[in-house]
Symmetry: C2
Subunit: 221 residues, 2 copies
């Protein structure tokens, strides 16, 4: 007597399945991004991701190989999405100070509105950047911003506006540090000092602050 399988759940076969690999992958990625950003790499649950997806856990392993593969895909997509925004800057015609102000504004707004991205980067640092090391694509993406700042600094120096002893990477770090910290550490910093960092007034003030500080620093001496 072979194993009968009569008790199959027999869900109403009215709706037929439609294969759509791209949609399935995108669906998984979107849900996974949220899960990883919320709970971290070790805190995220594959089952939880699968459940909130239109598809099943089997598909995660089919397309992404496993939890780590999925995490890497999420990380790459997050960086790529941010790149798309930054690359759109058109600054060649502006005077250096104004151009720099726009770059800072852009970074500020980016970090502020893409909290998932900020959290993923934070998580990757907790993980000591091990996954990022494998993703060569991510490196190229971020060099764009260095080129942009470099060009601005060059033009600024040519006009005698900026000092010459600061490298683009250091200027970028200063800007990034401030904008990133505001978002990444908003919970502890907010709780300790009892302030809401997302409140519009303070937001504006902070944006002004970092711009004034960076530009002031470049004009010193």
């Amino acid at each position: 007597m072979p194993n009968q399988t009569p008790s199959r759940k027999r869900s109403v076969p009215e709706r037929s399945r439609t294969n759509d690999p791209e949609r399935t992958k995108a669906d998984i990625l979107a849900v996974a991004t949220e899960e990883f950003a919320t709970y971290g790499l070790s805190g995220a649950r594959v089952d939880a991701i699968a459940e909130r997806t239109q598809t099943s856990k089997r598909m995660i392993y089919y397309y992404f190989g496993g939890k780590d593969g999925l995490y890497l895909a999420v990380l790459e997509k997050a960086y790529a999405d941010i790149r798309a925004i930054e690359s759109a800057l058109e600054l060649d015609l502006l005077d250096p100070v104004e151009a720099l102000r726009r770059v800072i504004d852009q970074t500020f707004e980016n970090d502020d509105s893409h909290t998932d991205f900020v959290r993923l980067v934070t998580i990757e640092n907790i993980n000591q950047g091990k996954h990022l090391a494998e993703a060569t694509s991510i490196r190229e993406i971020n060099l764009r911003i260095i080129q942009i700042i470099d060009a601005i600094l060059e033009r600024g120096r040519a006009k005698g506006l900026f000092r010459a002893d600061l490298e683009p990477v250091d200027v970028h770090m200063m800007i990034s540090a401030f904008c990133f910290f505001r978002v990444a550490n908003r919970h502890t910093f907010g709780a300790i000092h009892r302030i809401d960092l997302s409140e519009p007034g303070r937001r504006q003030k902070h944006k002004q602050m970092i711009a004034d500080a960076v530009i002031g620093l470049l004009q010193q001496k």
Copy 2:
């Protein structure tokens, strides 16, 4: 006939057990700090901590109630240790600019040399600051630095050196953001830009940068 325990491992009974609660707790805390800082809250393993301890897992539950309790204790101790250092600053006699430079120097060195602390704060932010909210002691600890900066700003304004429209919290955030970011994001930032943020030359340069930027900002206008 009482239950014989013949198959007992029979470890050389030379060394007798000495009860030392304080030592046991400190031992657990030290190991746990490292584990949590390395793997995060969800990534840390109670078994792993117990194994690297002189004592057993039972004691973790005995003294700290569980994984969460242990994590909270680790977090509190980390903040307390940092406080002890910062409170030692003696700045009343210095002129405001020099005093501020010392505060910045202190913050820079603190973050740079206490990577465990930086990682724990990062982890707590990933966790949305939920544990920190329960630890009222931590809040008080951090208000000290605000008082210090406030006093410096007051004296600076009295002498007509500093502008009046920046709050101590905002100045503190600017300093913290830079110093914290350097350590917290050193993996991703270092990998992307292929630089070693702990290299002495760059370290010095960064310390100079943030000090010049903050002081310059306060002296603007």
